[in-house]
């Protein structure tokens, strides 16, 4: 590569690119701002305090946005993981640069020139594009603002997940279940804001002095959002299938020596509020599609082997599945006393007042929101965290001694590494683990990101009303999301003394009906140690076997047989090389 090709951002002007596109959330995402907020209606009446919600980063108008730094970090990580040679070479050459700095035979200018020269000659494309401590990166990533306009009003009752129109977010909950008690672990119930799927953001990337293959590489990286098997993800909880996007509507603008005179001319005469390099956004600088093909892709670095195992599991629900989200729909199941399921009414999003006057509560199923047009629309689904939680609970209960089921407490109190149980490291490596407040060194050693990602597809059904015997509905019902087959299940405990129905004991809730299919994509990043890989594979075998034998169930109310599934197909997908998808622009 010539010196010209190794230009840095601050070198002689060679070219400038401005890439504009639309980034649309395929799954909800959470880019936290480290703060907590409260939401009207979300209150713990027992403790007489508002629920705290981990909030997302918002722009000056209070709307969720994607900070340029988050976007830039995600692109950098992805490039680093996906291509050969995308390493931090300058870190390795730090000693050499220190020698230049310490060279007493050079004055400061000579030292600076020598450092620049060294960086130009020794940096990787990753370092030139994204920068290092020595050099500013060629790529600028701007904050991405939301372009979606949603008219759905704020929800204060919970059925629409406390949707906040102005923040463009809703609230999700996560809880860890204690394997011993089967209940929520103390202090492990979290509320967090999510930006719904369907939210669109305008993204702007500008780059200066891109040389040789770097324009093609940059576009390749941006297309990483659309990568079928190894997409770029942004934000937190990506192991729970959050933070996936698709990128579209590319517009690539280009300025170089060939058209810089045009730019100067426009800059002199324009009345546009845009100025300087922003003028490149003018259509006169846009690269046509056919020109894109001329970008030099021949010398792109080789894509890395995607070091993960991917399996698709298709599960059949052998019994109903109950995954609650803590909210209620309204149901009136009889128009007369001593009758049931007669001239019924259903109002999925009934107000608290309507609940008191007209309806009985029906516990609702887990649902989330997505943006469609100018509305947020709810949809039922099985959260990845539920599947992951059941698999993790089984793994801990069966592979660790009982006194280790509370791993966090045990690790904190233990004298490592003398009494560490078998499989502890394997479990932590696979699922990841976070520990705070442990002895020095312990937190660092045992805090891991984990290698397991589970993606759960939405149910593909279309059932307007929930199934209930009789199906005798009055008109004018609001049945809520229809993308899952569901049924109303009544429970009515009897007083053990009188055998009368327990007053206030009758309750109804929705269940995902049996017979539905649940599609899981299980991805496990390949471990460093081969024996960990053996553990991963054996564990997958046992999970399948234990699901099929009813030992692993999903969701709640397993005591009355809910949540048993059967793995009907298991497709092991070969790890694939990253595909170049540049042509899809």
């Amino acid at each position: 590569m010539t010196e010209e090709h190794r230009q840095l951002k601050g070198g002689t002007f060679q070219n400038r690119y401005l890439i504009k596109a639309t980034l649309t959330a395929k799954t909800p995402f959470h880019i936290g701002d480290g703060e907590t907020i409260t939401r009207k209606g979300m209150r713990d009446e027992e403790k007489n305090k508002d629920h705290q919600i981990n909030s997302v980063a918002t722009d000056g108008k209070g709307r969720a946005y994607i900070p340029g730094s988050s976007l830039r970090g995600a692109l950098r990580d992805w490039l680093c993981l996906s291509y050969d040679g995308m390493t931090e070479k300058l870190e390795e050459a730090r000693k050499k640069m220190d020698e230049i700095r310490d060279d007493k035979n050079k004055n400061q200018q000579e030292k600076d020139d020598a450092i620049v020269d060294f960086v130009m000659k020794n940096s990787s494309a990753l370092e030139r594009i994204f920068g290092t401590q020595q050099n500013e990166g060629k790529l600028e990533v701007w904050d991405a603002y939301c372009t979606s306009k949603v008219e759905t009003n704020i929800d204060e009752y919970g059925q629409l997940c406390f949707w906040h129109k102005d923040r463009i977010t809703y609230v999700a909950k996560s809880v860890a279940i204690d394997p011993e008690t089967g209940t929520a672990e103390e202090g492990k119930l979290y509320n967090f804001e999510l930006v719904p799927a369907g939210a669109a953001f305008e993204v702007n990337f500008s780059a200066q002095n891109l040389s040789e293959n770097e324009p093609a590489l940059l576009i390749e990286v941006l297309n990483g959002f659309n990568h079928p098997t190894n997409p770029i993800t942004i934000g937190a909880m990506t192991k729970l299938d959050l933070g996936k996007f698709c990128i579209s509507d590319f517009k690539i603008h280009h300025l170089d020596s060939m058209n810089i005179d045009k730019w100067r001319e426009i800059a002199k005469t324009t009345t546009d509020i845009r100025a300087g390099y922003d003028i490149i956004a003018d259509s006169r600088f846009e690269i046509k599609k056919e020109e894109l093909k001329t970008l030099n892709k021949a010398t792109l670095p080789a894509p890395k082997f995607v070091a993960k195992n991917v399996e698709n599991w298709l599960l059949n629900l052998e019994t109903p599945l109950v995954i609650r989200n803590g909210t209620f729909a309204g149901w009136n199941n009889s128009a007369k006393p001593k009758t049931r399921n007669y001239k019924m009414e259903f109002k999925w999003n009934a107000t608290p007042q309507e609940m008191v006057t007209s309806f009985a509560q029906v516990g609702d199923l887990y649902h989330s929101l997505e943006i469609k047009g100018d509305k947020v629309v709810p949809y039922y689904h099985v959260p990845s965290s539920s599947i992951r939680g059941s698999l993790r609970a089984w793994t801990i209960e069966h592979l660790l001694p009982k006194e280790w089921w509370n791993m966090e407490d045990k690790i904190k109190e233990s004298d490592f590494p003398n009494n560490k149980p078998d499989y502890l490291d394997n479990i932590i490596s696979l699922f990841g683990f976070a520990i705070e407040g442990a002895k020095k060194g312990i937190s660092k050693e045992y805090t891991k990101a984990g290698r397991l990602t589970i993606q759960v597809d939405r149910f593909g059904s279309n059932q307007t009303s929930p199934d209930v015997d009789g199906a005798d509905w009055k008109g004018g019902n609001d049945f809520g999301p229809s993308n899952a087959e569901r049924q109303i299940k009544p429970r009515n405990p009897l007083d053990r003394i009188t055998h009368a129905a327990k007053e206030g004991g009758l309750h109804n809730f929705l269940e995902f009906s049996k017979g539905q299919k649940l599609s899981l994509a299980i991805e496990i990043l390949k471990p460093d140690k081969p024996e960990q890989g053996v553990f991963d594979q054996k564990l997958l075998e046992h999970w399948k076997s234990e699901i099929n034998s009813g030992e692993i169930r999903f969701g709640g109310l397993t005591g009355i047989g809910r949540g048993r599934a059967k793995v009907i197909t298991r497709t092991v997908i070969e790890s694939v090389k990253k595909e170049a998808i540049n042509d899809k622009i």
Binding site: G182, Y342, L399, D467, I497, H499, K514, L539, G550
Partner: protein
């Protein structure tokens, strides 16, 4: 000061001296048994004597009652369709240490049992209930369905099994009517709007204060000894160990070890059977426990009360439920025929009895379902299996219409697919699971002595005998069980004062605590006026009760 028995020890000592003349008194609230401050309004009546709180000291057993009642003459009425498994002074609980030790000394099993349920009599689980033309309430009751398939819910089977095991092992009473403090579960009614309502409000677990129209207050003890209210800080009972318990105390909830699935069957197994109900009121046979009689409650005191019409009547006050209610098996067709024949069971014109059809799982039909267990100690697995197949004589009752003989079921364990779980070493990932099909050898009642935790027998002998009496399945005996009719000398008949009471020279008993034996004497003497005074006297004098029912064994 009144001393209370150990069973009431959570109430500590309650100073009742101030109760004598209705001096307002606020007993100290306690965590386990909050004191109600309920203030209902009094109907046009008054309580002559203030009821003092007492504990059911040394509760009497079924054996004692049998002894007292074994020589009663037999009358011409049928025994009541339900009876009680007597409660003890305290439940059988086990500490977490005892449970931990128990688990360490037992093999733990996971797997599932394939169960075949056979309907011995038609079984009805209420699904859709269609209203009928004016004058009747229900036209027909369909069988419960899920996802368009007929099914007996796993939750119904679990409820039945849990209730049986709670009784058998003298466990907590996990489901009982309760209202938020200060309201009692069974409220004192407003006499103006509901003259038929309760004169004495009471609660399942807490002491209840009633304020009467003359401003005086009375207190009545709980229907159930508060120690029977689930409280994990006191230990755990067998049912909660098997089926799980949610505790408000941190870390004390316990996940279930038994999972019961729904039992599905085809439409061809259904057939319509007649069911009866009373029009214009609550469901026939619906429980209406009252502290103003001795039908559900242990006799406590006799009071005199002035009604809204100015009549003086006797109020036979009870305190504390007899026990846990279970229904006898009987032939439903004969039972329904009995009710619908007005000559035998006179119907009230204002609230006539009517018949409707209910879709039932036909007798002799079989339905299969699975019960899963998770790391269940061997003794608990044996107990579970024993309770599913409780010997030659005992069968369960399930679903709606138990009072008429519906819902008698038999369970057979067809197959058990189990594996022994490792306790000390982890699951061996490199090996296939060792599932074993086991031919199930039914545990018998004779083996119950082996079912122990910390040297304490899991099965409560007295409760077993009670259960065996009620749930005995002997179709050849053809005993008919029916509710007392709505006619003279039964529930609707008051005991007037002085006409019915004074000639018996029982005045001296009014207002004083009554022994249970004395209460039987009072009921005997009032028999010709009213038969439905004392539950156990009524049963003992019923047709074929002493000869057959009283002699039943597990």
């Amino acid at each position: 000061m009144t001393k209370f028995s150990n069973s009431f020890d959570k109430l500590k000592e309650i100073d009742t001296t101030g109760l004598k003349e209705g001096i307002p008194y606020t007993p100290p609230p306690t965590k386990a048994s909050p004191i109600s401050q309920h203030k209902g309004t009094l109907p046009e009546g008054r309580s002559k004597t203030i009821i003092q709180i007492t504990a059911a000291k040394n509760r009497k057993t079924r054996m004692e009652y049998d002894e007292w009642l074994s020589k009663e003459p037999t009358e011409d009425h049928n025994p009541n369709p339900f009876d009680f498994v007597f409660l003890s002074n305290h439940p059988a609980l086990y500490s977490d240490e005892e449970i931990k030790h128990f688990e360490q000394t037992q093999d733990l099993f996971s797997g599932h049992l394939e169960i075949e349920l056979t309907a011995l009599t038609p079984v009805h689980i209420v699904g859709t209930q269609v209203p009928s033309s004016p004058g009747h309430s229900i036209e027909r009751s369909n069988f419960y369905k899920e996802s368009s398939d007929y099914c007996i819910p796993g939750s119904s089977i679990q409820g039945m099994l849990r209730g049986f095991i709670e009784a058998l092992t003298n466990g907590w009473i996990s489901q009982a009517q309760e209202k938020e403090d200060p309201d009692p579960a069974y409220s004192k009614s407003d006499g103006q709007t509901n003259p038929q309502g309760r004169h004495i409000g009471f609660d399942s677990f807490k002491v209840t204060e009633n304020t009467h129209s003359n401003g005086k207050k009375s207190f009545i003890g709980p229907g159930i000894l508060p120690v029977y209210r689930p409280d994990r800080t006191m230990g755990i009972d067998i049912s909660s160990y098997l089926f799980g318990i949610i505790s408000k105390e941190k870390g004390l909830s316990r996940k279930h070890k038994v999972e019961i699935e729904d039992a599905f069957f085809q439409k061809e197994a259904l057939k319509d059977f007649p069911m009866v109900d009373i029009n214009n009121t609550a469901f026939m046979g619906g429980a209406h426990p009252s502290a103003s009689n001795w039908w559900y409650m242990i006799p406590k005191v006799i009071l005199e009360r002035r009604t809204g019409n100015g009549h003086h009547v006797m109020e036979l006050v009870g305190e504390g439920f007899w026990g846990r209610k279970f229904y006898f098996h009987q032939n439903p067709v004969e039972c329904i025929n009995f009710y619908t024949n007005s000559q035998q069971w006179p119907s009230n014109l204002k609230r006539p009895i009517y018949e409707y059809n209910a879709a039932c799982l036909k007798e002799k039909n079989k339905v299969c379902f699975n019960i899963y267990v998770k790391r269940l100690p061997k003794a608990m697995l044996d107990l579970l299996c024993l309770c599913l197949m409780p010997g030659e004589n005992i069968r369960h009752k399930l679903g709606y219409g138990k009072q008429y003989g519906y819902g008698s079921v038999d369970f057979k364990i067809k197959k058990a697919l189990m594996r022994k779980e490792k306790k000390d070493s982890p699951f061996d990932l490199l090996k296939e699971e060792e599932w074993e099909f086991k031919a199930y050898n039914p545990c018998r009642w004779e083996a119950r002595k082996d079912l122990k935790i910390a040297e304490k027998s899991i099965i409560d002998e007295s409760s077993l005998k009670n259960l065996a009496r009620i749930l005995n399945w002997q179709p050849t005996e053809s005993i008919l069980f029916s509710y007392p009719p709505n006619s003279k000398k039964y529930f609707q008949t008051p005991i007037r004062y002085p006409e019915d009471f004074k000639p018996l020279r029982l005045d001296g008993l009014i207002g004083n605590n009554l022994s249970e034996k004395n209460a039987i004497d009072v009921a005997r003497q009032l028999w010709s006026t009213k038969k439905t005074i004392h539950f156990h006297l009524y049963q003992a004098r019923a047709k074929r009760y002493k000869e057959i029912v009283m002699k039943r064994e597990p």
